[in-house]
Every structure is written in C-alpha cells, then in structure tokens.
C-alpha cells in the first residue's frame, strides 16, 4: 500500500499499531493492527472467535469491556481519538461514528420505547428541538425500512421481530448521520433470509449516504457480498489484507487459503474439505513468532522465531507470512 498517497488523501479512519491487552494477566488480545479507510468505503474484518476482530472495532471508539486496555493510534478525520477523554469521545460516538452490535434483542433497552431510544442520540448531540427530533426519528426509521414508523416508535423491543429490532438498532446508529458505521457481526443472530435483507440494506445505505462501513464477521460469504476490501485476523493480528476479489481468487496467507478451504462448497465427494488441524491459540499462551505457525503446513523454523514482517502488495493490501501461498504475490513486492 502506498502510505504517502493514503495520508495525502487524508483517510477517514486510520489505525496504527493498535493493540489491546488484558489488564488482569497482561495477555495481548490484539497486536499491531493497522489499516486505513477512505470516506464511503466498505471494509470487512473476518476471523474466527478469539481472533480479536470485535475487540479491534470496539477499541476504535473506546467501547472495550471492563479489564481491557488499548494502545496505539486511531485517527478519525485526521484527529487521534485513541486515549481521548471519555466526555470528548462520547461527543464523537453516534455523531461521527455509529455502531451496531450482534444481538439485536440485547442491544435495545427492554424498558424504553423504541422511538425514544432513537431520539435520545439526537438529543444528546444536541441540535434539534423535540418536534424536529420526532420528525427525524420517523425519517430515519423509514430510511432503514421499518414499516409504520409512527406505530413502531411507540413499541417496546420485545414487541418487534428479530429483523425489525436490528433495523431499529441501525436507526439508532444512523440517527445523527455518522460518516462511519461500525457493524459487529450485525447479522449473525438472524435467519438467512433476514440476514440477506439487512446486508442489502447496509450496502444500500452506505452507497446512498456516502458513509464508510467497517463490518466484522466470521462469515466469508458476508464479506464477499458487501465489502470492497477485507482484512483477515488470526490470533490478534491482521495476517492478510486485500481487495475482496483478490482475497477470494488469490489469497497469499496460508491461513486465508485454508479458511477458504474449510467452507463447504458442495457434496463431500466432489469438494472434500481440508480442515485446519488443531485450534487457535489461547491469547494468554500465544507462541512466539507467527501465531499460525503451529497449525501451518508451510511453517519453517524461522516462523516460530519472530513475527513475520508485513509485506505490502502493489495491487493493494499485503500479508504477514514468510512462506506465502502464491509465488506471484511475492513477486509484486
């Protein structure tokens, strides 16, 4: 990636050396994460549980669970927001950066009317009077495709269906027209047909509102459907970043390759799966060097000595591996 060019274009979001550690035992859950995101772009982060993908997006707006500590720099619109004091960060949340979460039922306050939960964000970001807030609430509910917004606004979350709840969560995030939306597994708790609706909605909204999207998921299919660029995380690190087409057609990192080979593509007789042996390491007991080395058939002695350096590719993105899958990938360095 051409760093100079990116900085000149002043990306909307840029992470540099972001790490997250657990205060209790010093285990590092996320290490040295860096990526940039232009206005209106859609960026996916994919990984298995424990890879640190959710922790990374939460670190962006300082919503880490108790007992976790973030380091590194997060530039949003050119300003470093990492370590910013809570009150200033709060002003940015919702207004500049919105976020939606995995479980739409628990993400909504069960004892507060849906309409009020949407309007609340408007109130604390302050510009509108009550009548205007109400208008905007209905407007944003329409935007996310909620039928009969006036009636639904006077409902409690438990009175809505799963898909409607996730639309409400989306409406809350979008109420103040943020320029960046962080979505943490937004469709994992939903049925396939509802997932399809929400993914299409996210994609449409991003295009029509010119809003950038960071989407975290464990599902490579979801990435393929709505992301332009994607980062693959394993054991707390980004192991590969690529334009979405390249990731699926010519992955460079052995983990990416093997992850793709773990997805059923048809009957076993025709497309047998070659599972990755073993399981991801415990964050507290991560081996030195490349985190994937113990499970990697291409690993050499050098892999276990130090973390492999990041190698950028001319086609965009890059990878961290001493023995990449594709020789051509290296040729581009």
């Amino acid at each position: 990636m051409n760093d100079a060019a990116m900085i000149e274009a002043s990306p909307l979001l840029a992470l540099e050396g972001v790490g997250v550690t657990r205060t209790a035992d010093g285990a590092s859950l996320v290490e040295d994460v860096a990526f940039t995101l232009g206005a209106g772009e859609s960026f996916g982060i994919v990984g298995e549980s424990g890879s640190g993908k959710s922790t990374t997006v939460r670190a962006i707006i300082g919503l880490l669970p108790e007992g976790l500590h973030a380091s590194g720099r997060v530039h949003f619109s050119g300003e470093n927001i990492a370590g910013m004091e809570e009150a200033r960060l709060a002003r940015l949340r919702g207004a500049g950066i919105g976020m939606v979460f995995q479980d739409p039922l628990s993400a909504l306050n069960p004892v507060m009317l849906v309409g009020r939960q949407i309007a609340e964000a408007l109130r604390w970001h302050g510009k509108l009077d009550p009548a205007a807030r109400r208008r905007r609430t209905i407007e944003v509910m329409r935007l996310v495709g909620l039928p009969e917004p006036e009636r639904l606004a006077a409902s409690y979350p438990h009175e809505l269906s799963g898909g409607q709840r996730q639309r409400v969560a989306l409406a809350i995030a979008l109420a103040c027209s943020p320029r960046l939306l962080l979505a943490d597994e937004p469709t994992t708790a939903l049925d396939v047909t509802i997932q399809d609706q929400i993914l299409r909605l996210l994609d449409e909204l991003r295009r029509s509102l010119g809003m950038a999207l960071v989407l975290v998921t464990h599902d490579l299919g979801v990435i393929a459907q709505i992301c332009e660029r994607v980062a693959v995380m394993y054991a707390g690190r980004i192991v590969e970043e690529a334009p979405v087409a390249r990731l699926f057609s010519a992955p460079a990192h052995p983990y990416t390759r093997m992850l793709l080979d773990s997805i059923p593509q048809g009957p076993r007789a025709l497309h047998p799966l070659a599972p990755i042996p073993g399981r991801p390491p415990d964050p507290a007991l991560r081996p030195p060097g490349c985190g994937f080395a113990p499970r990697c058939p291409r690993a050499s002695g050098a892999c276990t000595e130090r973390s492999p350096p990041w190698r950028a590719l001319g086609t965009g993105g890059g990878f961290a591996c001493l023995h990449p899958v594709i020789a051509e990938a290296v040729a581009h360095v």
Binding site: L63, A87, A90, A95, Q102, A107, Q117
Partner: protein, 313 residues
C-alpha cells in the same frame, strides 16, 4: 389494571385459608388441655368443663375451625384474659405504631440502599465500592437487638439526641422517636437491597443495550441513570419484597428494645402472661400484613416494568 388487581386478590384466597388454619391449629399445639392451661392447676373440673364448652373444645375440629373463621369474619378475635378487653381493640391500638415503623424502615432502607448501590456500581472495584460492600457485609452481620443497643448507647446515652424509648404523640414526634428503631431495621435490611441493586446494576451495565447507549454518545451519568437503573430497579424491589417477612419479624425485637407500643411488644407481653388468644391474633394480623405488603411490591414491580404494564393493560 383493576381487573388484574382483582384477580391478584382472588389468588390470595387459598393463602388466606392457609393462614387462618395455621393460626387456628397453633393453639392446638399447647401441650395438654388448653382449658386447664388457661385456668391454672387449681381450677375445679367443673370450671374446666365450662371453659372447654366456652372455647368450643367439645366440638369436632372442623366445627371449631368454622366457628373460628366466622368470628374472624365478624372482626371478633375474642377476649384478652390479661387486658380484659376485646382483642380487636387491643390489636387496633397497637397496629398504628407497627405500621409507622414498617413504612419508616422501608423509607430509610431505600434512602441508604439506592445511593450506595449506585455509587458502588458506578465506581466498581474502587475504594467507594469496597467500602460500600464491607459496610453491607457488616450490616447484615449485626443482630438487630445489638444494633439497637449500640444506637441507644451512642445516640441516646453518650450523645443524648434521641429518646431511649417511646413513641410520642403526633406524627412529627412519632417520626422523631421512631428514628432509632427504624434505623435499626434499615441497617439490617439496606445491605440486602443494596447488594441486589449493585448486582443487578452490574448485570445491566454489562448488557448489550449499554453498549448501544454508549455508542450513541450518551454521557456516563445518562447511561447509568437513564438506561442501567430502570432495568436494575425491579430485581432490587423484588429483594425488598422477599424480605418483608424479615422486616416485619424485626419489628417484634425492635419494639421490645425501644419500648414501642406496637403489635410486637403486645405479642411478647402476652407470651409472658400466657394470653394465647392475643398471640394468635397478632400472628394472624402480622401474617396478613406480610401478604398485603407483598401484594403492594408486586404492584410496584408492575408499575416499574413497562413490559409487564403493557401485558396487563
């Protein structure tokens, strides 16, 4: 809503029957012949027989129970042997102080538990939290008669602000005189409510909707008071409701310690004088009181949880 309350009252009927049966059977536990026990060992057989007839002891048990219930329904608890007046009047005159004491204790309990619970949850694992939690452990670990003793020692004897005992006349005077008794109960009860509130606040603060609220950019104070507290208050009220029996039980001791002329004191005095019908009546009234206060907490939960409110409406 009215329909709900009516149905809820209807559900109390089996409990009411149970309570009256227990109270009725209570005096049957007296070893030996109740009539003789009541009259003493020097009574003549004729007198005992007359007493048995008077008490209805010569009839079958179920018939005695029906008579007992019929009298109750008419507000007739019988006569006190010791005070020589209608028990219903005795109970009425002693009910007031007990009710004031219970209400006062609940108010003080909430006045301690709410701010302390919020403080502990907001400053989790910090000094304030530890202090509150230690206070709570010590608070429940103090027997009420001993709290009473220490309060008297400190605030009535050493620094004579409050009276050692009494009830006064007129509400302001009641509230002043009952401050130490009510505080005694609150010191025992507040830790239970406080623990429940802290735990449910912690749980609420770890929920998804708190993430959403923070992601909206709400200030911490609004997240805590506007989102966590409304969800956490219901379990705390439940705990208060579960401990109403404990609260009412404590009044018996506290009234004895501070010489409050309430039902508890009446009961203890009547034990000394073997005034069984009075003991029976007070047990019944306190039982009914607990049932009614529980009903009130149920309705309170209803008002606090909009989901339930809507379900019922």
């Amino acid at each position: 809503m009215t329909r709900y309350i009516l149905r809820r009252l209807l559900m109390l009927v089996p409990v009411a029957i149970g309570i009256t049966m227990v109270v009725f059977l209570l005096v049957r536990l007296i070893p030996g012949d109740p009539a003789r026990t009541l009259l003493g060992i020097h009574a003549t057989p004729e007198l005992v027989a007359a007493m048995r007839a008077h008490l209805g002891l010569d009839r079958p048990l179920w018939a005695q129970y029906l008579i007992f219930v019929r009298h109750l329904a008419a507000g007739d608890f019988g006569h006190s042997y010791y005070y020589g007046e209608a028990i219903s009047r005795l109970v009425l005159t002693h009910l007031g102080p007990t009710l004031v004491l219970i209400a006062y204790s609940v108010v003080l309990t909430l006045a301690i538990a709410l701010p302390a619970g919020l403080l502990a949850a907001a400053r989790r694992d910090q000094a304030a939290d530890h202090l509150v939690r230690i206070g709570a452990v010590v608070g429940v670990g103090l027997p009420s008669y001993w709290i009473g003793f220490m309060l008297i020692l400190l605030l009535a004897v050493t620094i004579p602000i409050f009276p050692v005992a009494g009830y006064g006349t007129g509400l302001p005077s009641h509230l002043f005189d009952l401050f130490l008794p009510a505080l005694t109960i609150a010191i025992n009860l507040a830790p239970l409510v406080l623990r429940a509130l802290r735990a449910s606040l912690m749980e609420a603060l770890a929920s998804g909707y708190i993430d959403t609220a923070r992601a909206k950019g709400l200030p911490r104070r609004v997240v805590l008071l506007g989102h966590a507290l409304p969800n956490a208050i219901v379990p705390a009220v439940t705990v208060l409701g579960l401990n109403i029996g404990y609260l009412v039980g404590s009044t018996v001791i506290v009234e004895t310690v501070f010489a409050v002329p309430g039902l508890g004191q009446l009961m203890i005095n009547s034990i000394g004088t073997r005034d069984y019908p009075v003991i029976q009546a007070v047990t019944l009234v306190l039982g009914v009181l607990v049932v009614l206060v529980n009903l009130a907490t149920d309705l309170m939960q209803l008002l606090l949880d909009p989901r339930v409110r809507r379900e019922v409406a």
